[in-house]
C-alpha cells in the first residue's frame, strides 16, 4: 500500500513539474519580449516604415514588415486553399474510400509536412534563379504556400474524413452528384476548415526561413507582386543581429507585435470554431 502511494506521489509530482515547465516557459517568453520590447514599442512602430535602414536605423517603425507579413499570410493561405481543397475533396469523395491513391496522397502530405521550411526556401530560391527572378512578394507567397499546404490539407482531410458516411449516403440517395455532395461536405466541415486556415496562417506569419531568400527584405511597403517584401520574423532576425543596442531592442518590439498577431489569430480560431460548431449540432 505504501509503495503505491509513493509511486503515485512521485508520478504526480513529475507531471505537475512538467506542466509548470511548459507554462513557465510561455510566461518567460512573453515576459522577455515584453520587458525588452515595450520601451521601443510606440505608435510610430506600427504606423511608420523604418528610417535610416532596418539594420542601423533607430527611427520609424515596422509598418513595412507588418504589411508584408499580412500580405504573405493572406496570399499564401488563399493560394493554399485553392490548391488543397480540390485535393482533399478528390481523395475523400471522388476516389474510392481508402483507395491507394488517397493513401499515397496522405503519405506525401506527411512527408511534405516534415520538411523544414529552410528547405522550401532553398527550393523556391533555386526556381527563382532558374527563371531569373528577383526576391519578390510573389515568390514569398508561393514558397510559404508550399510550406502550409501540408498543414492545410492534412487538417481539412482529417475533418472531412471524420464526417459520417450517412451524410454522403443522404446526398447520393437524393440523386446528388459528387460535386454537389462535395459542397455539402464543405459546408458540414466549415468549422474544421476555419481552424485549419487559422492554424496554417499562424504558421505562415511566423515562418522566417522560407521568406529569407524568396521575399527578401526592404524598408518600403511593396506596391506590386514583383517587389520584395519585408516580414516580421525577418525584422526580428536582422534587427537582433545589429550591433546597436537600440536597434536590438526594436527586435523585441517586433517580436511582441508578431506574438500579439499570432495570439489574436489563435484566439480567433478558437472563437470561430466554437461558434460555428454550435450552429452545427
Amino acid at each position: 500500500m505504501k509503495r503505491k502511494k509513493i509511486e503515485s506521489f512521485f508520478f504526480k509530482s513529475l507531471m505537475i513539474l512538467a506542466t509548470l515547465m511548459i507554462a513557465g516557459s510561455l510566461v518567460m517568453i512573453l515576459w522577455t519580449i515584453t520587458a525588452k520590447g515595450i520601451r521601443s514599442l510606440n505608435w510610430d512602430m506600427i504606423s511608420k516604415v523604418p528610417e535610416g535602414g532596418f539594420y542601423i536605423g533607430k527611427g520609424g517603425g515596422l509598418l513595412n514588415a507588418i504589411i508584408g507579413s499580412l500580405y504573405i499570410t493572406i496570399g499564401s493561405t488563399l493560394l493554399g486553399l485553392l490548391i488543397s481543397i480540390p485535393v482533399v475533396l478528390y481523395i475523400n469523395i471522388y476516389a474510392r474510400k481508402d483507395s491507394s491513391l488517397a493513401t499515397v496522397t496522405r503519405f506525401t502530405f506527411d512527408v511534405l509536412f516534415g520538411i523544414p521550411s529552410i528547405v522550401y526556401g532553398a527550393f523556391g530560391f533555386t526556381i527563382m534563379v532558374y527563371f531569373g527572378l528577383r526576391a519578390s512578394l510573389l515568390a514569398g507567397i508561393i514558397t510559404v504556400t508550399l510550406v502550409i499546404i501540408p498543414i492545410l490539407a492534412r487538417a481539412m482531410d482529417e475533418v472531412i474524413r471524420r464526417t459520417p458516411e450517412e451524410l454522403s449516403d443522404a446526398t447520393y440517395s437524393l440523386g446528388a452528384t459528387r460535386w454537389e455532395t462535395s459542397k455539402v461536405f464543405l459546408r458540414q466541415s466549415l468549422p474544421g476548415i476555419m481552424t485549419a486556415v487559422l492554424l496554417s496562417s499562424g504558421r505562415a506569419i511566423g515562418d522566417a526561413a522560407s521568406v529569407l531568400f524568396t521575399a527578401g527584405y526592404t524598408d518600403s511597403i511593396p506596391t506590386s507582386l514583383s517587389q520584395p517584401a519585408a516580414t516580421l520574423p525577418l525584422a526580428i532576425f536582422f534587427q537582433l543581429s545589429s550591433p546597436i543596442q537600440e536597434v536590438q531592442n526594436r527586435a523585441y518590439a517586433a517580436a511582441l507585435i508578431l506574438t500579439v498577431i499570432v495570439l489574436v489569430i489563435s484566439l480567433g480560431a478558437k472563437y470561430f470554431s466554437k461558434k460555428l460548431s454550435k450552429n452545427k449540432i
Binding site: R96, K97, D98, S99, P164, E166, L167, S168, D169, A170, T171, Y172, S173, L174, G175, A176, T177, E180, V184, R187, Q188, L190, N279, K280, I281
Partner: protein
C-alpha cells in the same frame, strides 16, 4: 416467392467484400407498393442487400458485386445506367437521422433544387407539401429557417423522410430507421410507412420482429448471407417452414 411485376428483382446476386462472401446467391422479388421487411441477426447481410439496391455499396474499395438487380426491369448494374438518376428513384432512411447542414426549409428544398427547380413559389409549395406529408408542418412552420439540427431526433428522422420524398422517388429504403428513436417517434414513423404504402414500394431492414409484424406485408429472413425464407408476414412469423426461421422467430438465435 416470385411476383408477376416486381418493382425490384434480384437475380443471382453475390457480394464479396475483400475475401468475405457477404451475400450468397440472392434471388428475390420485391413486390410493388407493398412493405417488405428484411429480418435476421446482426451481420447477416440485410443492410448490405439494401445498399446494393441504390448502389451505395460499390463506392467502397474491395467490394465485388456479381449478378443483377433489376429496378422496373432495368439492370441498375448495367453499363448504360446513370447512377445519380437511378439513385433518385430510391429514398433512403438511415439508422440515425442525418440532416444536411442547413435550415429545415433548405433540407427539403435541397433535392428539388439540385434537380433544377428554381422557382421560389414552387419550392415553397414542395416544402410545405412534404412537411405536411410527414406530419411536421404544424410543428415547424414557424421556424423553417432554423438549423435542421435544432429539431428533436424523431423530428429529424421525419425531416429526412420528407427530404427523400421531395425528389419524388418510387421506392423507399429504410435501414433500421427507428433504431435511434424513442417509442413514440418510432410509432409515428411506422404510421407514416403504412400511409405511404399506397404510393411507394417500401423496403425495410429491421431487427425488431414486432416492428416487422406491425408494418410489413412480406418478410424476408436472411441468415449468414442467404435468404432462408420469404413469405407473407403472418405466414412467415406464425408458420415458418424452415427450421432456422422457426428458431429465429422463437428467439433461439439472434
Amino acid at each position: 416467392m416470385t411476383f408477376e411485376a416486381p418493382h425490384i428483382r434480384v437475380k443471382d446476386l453475390n457480394v464479396y467484400i475483400g475475401h468475405n462472401h457477404i451475400l450468397k446467391n440472392i434471388s428475390l422479388d420485391i413486390p410493388d407498393k407493398k412493405i417488405t421487411s428484411f429480418i435476421g441477426p446482426s451481420g447477416c447481410g440485410k443492410t448490405t442487400l439494401l445498399k446494393t439496391f441504390n448502389r451505395l455499396l460499390d463506392r467502397n474499395k474491395d467490394v465485388k458485386i456479381n449478378g443483377q438487380v433489376l429496378v422496373d426491369g432495368e439492370d441498375i448494374y448495367g453499363s448504360q445506367v446513370e447512377v445519380t438518376g437511378m439513385r433518385r428513384k430510391m429514398g433512403l432512411l438511415s439508422q440515425r437521422p442525418f440532416p444536411l447542414p442547413m435550415s429545415i426549409y433548405d433540407n427539403i428544398a435541397y433535392g428539388p433544387r439540385i434537380h433544377g427547380l428554381r422557382k421560389k413559389k414552387e419550392l415553397n409549395q414542395s416544402v410545405e407539401h412534404y412537411l405536411r406529408a410527414t406530419g411536421l408542418w404544424e410543428e415547424v412552420k414557424g421556424r423553417l429557417n432554423s438549423p435542421a439540427t435544432s429539431l428533436s431526433i424523431g423530428q429529424q428522422q421525419r425531416l429526412c423522410l420528407a427530404r427523400g420524398l421531395a425528389v419524388e422517388p418510387e421506392i423507399i429504403l429504410g435501414d433500421e430507421p427507428t433504431s435511434a428513436l424513442d417509442p413514440l417517434s418510432t410509432q409515428r414513423i411506422e404510421e407514416l410507412f403504412l400511409q405511404l404504402r399506397d404510393k411507394y414500394t417500401i423496403v425495410l431492414v429491421t431487427h425488431i420482429l414486432r416492428q416487422a409484424r406491425r408494418v410489413s406485408d412480406y418478410i424476408v429472413f436472411i441468415y449468414m448471407g442467404e435468404i432462408i425464407e420469404f413469405g407473407p408476414t403472418e405466414e412467415l412469423l406464425l408458420n415458418p417452414k424452415q427450421k432456422l426461421t422457426q428458431e429465429y422467430v422463437k428467439g433461439y438465435i439472434s
